[in-house]
Symmetry: C2
Subunit: 419 residues, 2 copies
């Protein structure tokens, strides 16, 4: 018997739950809209999706999405678990995506459908590349142990020249930063070509490392075509760089796998576009399901937003995402990825982040939280380090601020009533 | 001055339209949540997104999506046009996607946001690979002129062995079919490995071509990793095949570009997953915008669903999609793609499709509409050919059915009161 992969969905439908579930299972495996002669019992046994569980969650007022059959009929919500034989797809992530999240969201028996979780057989996890570095490898390259990597994003997002970018990197290196990333809008534009940026930035980072022994990790955004990404990776490697970055939804799973098969550096994976995949609660993906595919494909770092962020995501969702990345995909091969916190982060969100997760295995990226610190970027970095040390030692923020002028200034600047 | 690309959105927001538009434009170019020192006037001039137009469409009851700031404040809907200098991204489609559809759907000033159209400068269209075959190249390879290609999909979707698939192909070849495609769930599973399927199917197709002079076009689903797709393409080419197929959302733009750069055959592009990108009207993509990126990347055929389909999409949306594919992307390089009609199609939808489009440049794929014809698959194909000939000559369906027993039987079988 082929091992099976499982997917959980939240389904809303105006038709009988069992019937809707059978329609989805049929559409996504051996069935179609009407019985066809070739779908024999033997064929079903080897290839059909199976309904593992349906949990009725009760009636709902009506369809969340337009286009459902009989919109005025009573609707119900249910939790649905389907499974497929791994033999249908093999360990091919692009084909697994088409299987678990293909032509099912448009079925007219579906009034809402969201993929909430994926569970993979160990054979599948073992056959996928997975993250090559994860937290351990990232810590080794960055030279940071026992606390989060304190990071930042180059701003303005786009428009700086290579030399202007490198000048900002010099300031950040002097400030004691651990990690810097390109903005996802900055890849290889005319104003800041990738190669020139890489050379200018790595000259600064290498000089800083020669002086101090600390090599700041810079995630270079090499998003592009396969050959471009490979060449850019090779350039970064040859320059002594320690991280590359790509936009997941831009390159797709196939692009990510091509990058992963080639890469010798951690892959910082940006989720821009996540909003169109997730923002309606009755459509698309929960982060746990979506990110699991990218972990299997090789993502070492994955963005999860941050507490009290400037987007529309609630804190509970952010924490659930970070926890999902730390949940093993199989007992023998956890394939965990390092969560990247960002968006309006300052020293004020540190204690809450620690309290929710109780792990330092994350990248904590602040822009204004560092650059706009009243005493300058070095104090900005110091404030974040001190806040994390305090949180991890169980010392409240206000108490810790008494022993850290940088943290005290951050609390004043970013707290209620601050500038 | 750099040429600019433009994007249209439908925006819903509780904040002033100009302010929301400025936030989106800033987030997707040189700005960020707060002013940063480096964003000089010179930098803005060379890199900032520009608000080209805001058209107030009036008040709306409230936020369509959760998470918007001030959900109880009055909301308005607007049409928004932004533009970006091509210099920001160059002709890089993955980076253009991150620019026009990146981190903007999650902004908390956004209560709904949908990308409705993209307009590209000719320099961009010229620099992208685009479709290598399109309608003209497809017609040449399929040997079909002056009418749609009549096609079908192998069903059951998955579970048939290579020999069982080939046997079905033999039946379809004898029935006079022009085009056959794998299901998107069928790629390289254990029951029907790609190579074995390709060899078995092409043996049938080549034998039929040797006997009759007609080489049926078969779209082999080679969705997978880059190296897999290239090897499978080469196998199909070596076997004399004339078409390959890939799932767009599975392989991503980077995967598609890698395939296009290598391919010497038309790329049949499946849109499975389109539901999660589009089904909520206030989120994601209109087909015109989404498909434009895939046309630039090299899609020769693109799925558009069909009239009176079995999914939730309305007929007007289907026709708008087909028209979008026929709309040139630039005057010198139209990069049009061939629309693929499918999902519950029979002879009954032919006249409506023709009346709406007045072009035979499409693939008309029917499953049950061919295989379940009461007089067999050959009559199923004949009925569709006769329906198209009648529609294109202005002869009504009922009149045409009087001269075509196959069409008459189809009307009886698939019409109201039919089996």
């Amino acid at each position: 018997m082929s091992p099976r992969l499982e997917a959980d969905y939240i389904l809303e439908t105006p038709v009988a739950l069992e019937k809707a579930a059978a329609t989805i299972a049929g559409e996504q495996s051996s069935g179609t809209f009407r019985p066809v002669p070739g779908e024999t019992a033997e064929l079903k046994a080897r290839s059909a999706a199976r309904i593992e569980a349906i949990t009725d969650l009760g009636p709902i007022p009506g369809p969340a999405l337009p286009g459902a059959a009989t919109p005025h009929a009573p609707h119900r919500r249910a939790r649905l678990t389907l499974s497929w034989p791994l033999a249908n797809t093999g360990p091919s992530l692009p084909n697994i995506l088409a299987t678990v999240a293909g032509n099912l969201f448009e079925l007219n028996c579906v009034a809402a459908l969201r993929l909430t979780a994926l569970r993979f057989p160990p054979e599948l996890v073992a056959a996928c590349p997975g993250p090559a570095f994860g937290t351990t490898g990232t810590r080794t390259l960055a030279g940071v142990q026992g606390r989060p990597l304190i990071g930042t994003i180059i701003k303005p997002s786009i428009g700086l020249s290579p030399d202007e970018t490198a000048a900002m990197v010099a300031t950040l290196c002097q400030a004691g930063i651990d990690f810097i990333k390109d903005d996802e809008l900055q890849a290889d534009g005319a104003v800041c070509p990738f190669d020139a940026r890489a050379r200018a930035v790595m000259a600064v980072i290498n000089a800083h490392a020669d002086r101090t022994g600390k090599k700041v990790m810079y995630a270079f955004n090499l998003t592009g075509e396969v050959d471009e990404m490979r060449a850019r990776h090779d350039l970064i490697l040859s320059l002594g760089g320690t991280c590359i970055m790509a936009s997941a939804n831009s390159i797709g799973l196939t692009g990510m796998l091509a990058l992963r098969r080639h890469a010798q550096l951690p892959i910082h994976t940006h989720r821009n576009g996540w909003g169109y995949l997730s923002r309606h609660p009755g459509l698309g993906f929960d982060y746990a399901a979506w990110s699991a595919l990218w972990r299997l494909a090789g993502a070492d770092h994955l963005h999860v937003n941050g507490l009290a962020n400037k987007f529309c995501e609630a804190d509970g969702s952010v924490i659930a995402s970070a926890r999902a990345l730390a949940t093993p995909l199989s007992p023998g091969r956890p394939a965990t990825a390092m969560p990247v916190f960002s968006s309006g982060q300052t020293a004020l969100q540190v204690h809450g982040t620690w309290a929710a997760l109780h792990t330092p295995d994350l990248i904590f990226a602040a822009g204004g939280g560092i650059m706009a610190h009243p005493d300058g970027p070095a104090a900005g970095v110091r404030a974040l380090q001190d806040a994390w040390a305090a949180a991890m030692s169980g010392i409240p923020l206000d108490l810790a601020a008494k022993d850290s002028p940088a943290l005290a200034a951050a609390v004043r600047a970013y707290g209620p009533g601050g500038a």
